[in-house]
């Protein structure tokens, strides 16, 4: 055992020297008894999969090959190893790592669509070609626990999960989200490592873009050598619109979140009765999802609720939405938002700063909250005491008339991004809701918000009708009625409805949908680059 270990370590040093010379930072993570903890094996996997061909064929050219966890942009350094298809190199690396060719790896995934199954078949074939046998299966039952059960010892294992490889994704609101889970003790598959922890701390240490950039450069170089998870491709998002719809200058952006798309100014060709109706999807089947986990995926979340700030298509804050003005101190530790005058909920009740305070406090007690939002709120002074029940309110939040003041214990670089996405909910309707069963509250059968559209009629599993909110602070929307049907991306009903002319706007990440939508002559498809990386997770812990 010890001898094998030494041999492996020596091998790593050699491999590092062979393949990574040229990069300034040379580092290797600890290798344990699990062969996948050997970076050479992970590199071999990366070399073995011909992502260029997969993207070109299976994904129909509608994705970008990934060379890092982080999407392309200013924070990506030059010279990252793209791990272009090189089966020969993969075989050499495996030979050097003494790969046991009789071993069969277990690859798991959780998407139910055909494209994923095809992709898995392709990965299986490519890996078989270099001598790595795998089988793949879709996880059933308790998917979350099977993916995320962390080991008792975050550094030495053994693993609490049974799979070897996992196909998954990370959608991020902010760049840190790609790396923060890999802090020691954060994930089920990758052993903790002090060097990595330090690099992660660096990207979170400042809200100064230049300092962050330096941190991002460093951690991506580190990642490119260690491949703790193997980035496969960057997912694009495809917005589709029928030729009946005109955005009148509204922007296009990351439709998984909220941004200044200007839906109040959209117009649509009237039907034979002169009524302006726009059809879309994502109507609920059983209940409306609370808007704090998926911040902007569902139509209801986007248009029925409103947020304090407005952001652009790349999700950077550009001004107030419900906030008349806002201010953040130079050290980033205090912030204040002043609401516009005369804001009301769809039921006519006044919307006040107390609703904002209520929303933040409620969010702290609800388990299913978006990680970025949660990170902002847990940075608030007194949030811990409130969460544990020791305090009745968060001391870091104070209300002064129309103004809400926040003070933070620790810096959150994404404070404004949070308030560009965080929907404010009505205290008068939700104050008695049980935070632990928030989603089960009757409110979510027909929610009341303060957004540009209000819900007029709900037929669960059939359709939802929205009409303009006459008292919206940004003006009354021009489309008379929006009708949403229950279909989602990657689901045959989306294409069915679109073909039948019952779909004027929507978005999808499924490249199969895109080809079908483009085939409809009245539909245009607008690809949008979004931060969304598909990757292979690798269980590097020793097995039980």
């Amino acid at each position: 055992m010890g001898e094998v270990m030494l041999k492996k370590l020596a091998g790593v040093a050699l491999a590092t020297a062979m393949f990574m010379s040229g990069t300034s930072l040379v580092s290797a993570e600890t290798i344990n008894s699990e062969a996948l903890s050997d970076p050479r094996v992970r590199q071999a996997i990366a070399y073995a999969i011909d992502m260029d061909t997969i993207v070109e064929t299976l994904l129909e050219g509608r994705a970008l090959v990934a060379d890092s966890m982080l999407p392309n942009g200013p924070n990506k350094p030059d010279g990252l190893n793209p791990y272009s298809y090189d089966p020969e190199k993969a075989r050499e690396l495996l030979a050097a790592a003494d790969w046991d060719t009789s071993r069969e790896l277990d690859l798991v995934y959780y998407y139910g669509d055909q494209l994923t199954a095809d992709l898995m078949a392709a990965v299986q074939a490519y890996l078989a070609d270099v001598g790595i046998k795998i089988t793949y299966r879709q996880l059933q039952g308790d998917v979350g626990a099977q993916l995320t059960a962390k080991p008792d010892d975050a550094v030495n294992g053994p693993a609490n999960i049974t799979w070897d490889l996992g196909y998954g994704a990370a959608a991020a609101l902010v760049g840190q989200e790609y790396f923060n889970p890999y802090k020691t003790g954060g994930v089920s598959h990758t052993p903790g490592n002090a060097e990595r922890d330090a690099l992660i701390a660096k990207i979170n240490s400042s809200s100064d873009p230049e300092v962050q950039k330096e941190g991002y450069f460093a951690i991506q170089k580190y990642w490119s050598e260690n491949l703790n998870s193997i980035p496969l491709y960057y997912q694009q998002l495809f917005v589709f619109e029928s030729d009946r719809v005109n955005r009148n200058g509204g922007a296009y952006g990351n439709d998984q979140y909220n941004y200044n798309w200007g839906i109040e100014n959209w117009t649509v060709t009237p039907d034979e009765n002169g009524k302006k109706v726009m059809y879309t999807n994502t109507a609920p089947a059983q209940f409306f999802e609370a808007p704090w986990l998926n911040l902007g995926i569902w139509m209801t979340t986007k248009i029925v609720f409103d947020r304090l700030l407005e952001v652009d298509g790349a999700l950077n804050p550009i001004g107030g939405s419900m906030a008349e003005s806002y201010e953040v101190s130079a050290d980033g530790l205090t912030a204040s938002f002043t609401l516009k005058d005369g804001l009301t909920w769809h039921d006519g009740e006044a919307l006040t700063a107390d609703d904002v305070k209520f929303s933040i406090e409620t969010a702290l007690r609800i388990p299913t909250i978006h990680a970025v939002v949660r990170n902002t709120f847990t940075s608030l002074t007194g949030s811990e005491a409130y969460e544990s029940g020791a305090a009745d309110s968060v001391s870091g939040i104070s209300v002064d008339g129309n103004t809400i003041n926040l003070s933070f214990d620790t810096l959150d670089p994404n404070l404004l991004i949070t308030f560009g996405q965080f929907a404010i909910l009505p205290e008068h309707l939700l104050k008695n809701a049980d935070p632990l069963q928030f989603q089960q509250d009757p409110f979510w059968q027909n929610p009341i918000g303060s957004g540009v559209y209000k819900i007029e009629e709900v037929q669960m599993n059939d359709f939802t009708r929205y009409v303009p909110f006459e008292n919206y602070h940004g003006g009354v929307a021009k489309i008379d009625e929006i009708v949403a049907f229950p279909s989602y991306d990657g689901d045959a009903n989306l294409i069915k409805n679109a073909t039948a002319g019952r779909m004027d706007y929507g978005f999808t990440k499924n490249t199969g949908d895109v080809a079908s939508l483009e085939a409809l002559d009245f539909m245009r498809v607008i690809p949008v680059d979004i931060p969304y990386t598909r990757m292979i997770w690798i269980n590097q812990f020793s097995r039980k």
Binding site: L58, Q114, A121, A492, I495
Partner: protein, 304 residues
């Protein structure tokens, strides 16, 4: 006739009986009838063609059903790929042949095993009677109180998806019909004089069941097996459609046909679903033809 000579005569009958010399010739007549039924013959031919092409798949195609070729994906049928290629460039013809192995195994295997289990339980408990009969009857009623698909889905959600699990589920949901039939046969037959006579000779229960009662029930048994085989093959396809069938890394008819869910495939790539859809339908149809022929051939009320 003296008592001794009567004993001797019975001993001789018993001997013949045990040597199976007295086995009924009805089966041969049934077979002849079956072969006279044109649809049944057609069924047997189609069934055999599909079954043997699946079994001898390697002789019929060199293609590996798992071998991908992304650059040659979604190609229409050609001399090289008789049924074209699928979205990852796998040979659809090879997949249909190899997929047939699994699907037929699931259908026929589950049909046979559930029949055997049903017969064993039905024959034994029906013959024995008493509490064990009541228990078996209640358990079968329990299973039969569910609409089939609801029970299958419920069991899928309980024991999870895998090839073996699917067969277990089919067997669990399928044994009841056979059991009831076997039991009913048993109840009526055990009252028959010749069975009672055999019993009084001291033949064991098991051997009476095996040698005298089962041959009489063979017709309905075969009919039942064919019907459940057809039903299981269709169920496998249906479950694949719902995403709750055999895991996708195993090619089965259902998993291949599943691509038809994608409207684009349905509209543009007929070769990815039409051949396999046809093969499933023809196979099930042939099984139904055989079953129907068997029913006609073995049902005494339909003689003449």
């Amino acid at each position: 006739m003296s008592r001794r000579s009567l004993d001797r005569k019975f001993d001789r009958i018993l001997e013949l009986e045990e040597a199976q010399k007295l086995s009924p010739s009805r089966r041969n007549r049934a077979l002849a009838k079956l072969l006279n039924n044109r649809l049944a013959v057609l069924g047997i031919i189609l069934f055999s063609i599909i079954l043997f092409s699946a079994i001898f798949a390697p002789l019929l195609t060199d293609a590996n059903p798992l071998k991908i070729d992304l650059r040659n994906a979604s190609k229409a049928p050609s001399a090289e790929h008789w049924f074209g290629t699928d979205k990852t460039g796998r040979d659809v013809f090879a997949r249909v042949l190899y997929g047939g192995r699994v699907s037929i195994l699931v259908g026929l295997g589950s049909g046979l095993i559930s029949a055997v289990i049903g017969i064993i339980i039905g024959a034994y408990t029906g013959f024995k009677g008493g509490w064990i009969d009541v228990l078996a009857l209640r358990v079968s009623e329990l299973f039969m109180s569910f609409p089939q698909i609801i029970l299958v889905l419920l069991l899928v959600s309980i024991i999870g998806q895998s090839l073996l699990n699917l067969m277990i589920i089919f067997i669990l949901t399928g044994w009841g019909g056979m059991y009831r039939m076997a039991r009913a046969q048993m109840l009526s037959l055990r009252e028959e004089e010749y069975v009672q006579a055999l019993q009084s000779f001291g033949l064991s229960t098991a051997s009476i069941c095996y040698k005298h009662i089962l041959p009489n029930a063979l017709g309905p048994v075969m009919v039942n097996i064919t019907l459940s085989t057809a039903a299981f093959i269709l169920a496998e396809a249906g479950l694949s459609y719902l995403g709750l069938g055999v895991p996708l890394n195993i090619p089965t008819w259902g998993n291949i046909l599943n691509t038809a869910q994608d409207l684009r495939v349905l509209q543009n790539y007929w070769w990815m679903w039409l051949p396999v859809g046809t093969v499933i339908s023809v196979f099930v149809l042939s099984v139904n033809f055989i079953g129907d022929g068997l029913r006609d051939a073995t049902d005494p009320s339909q003689q003449g």
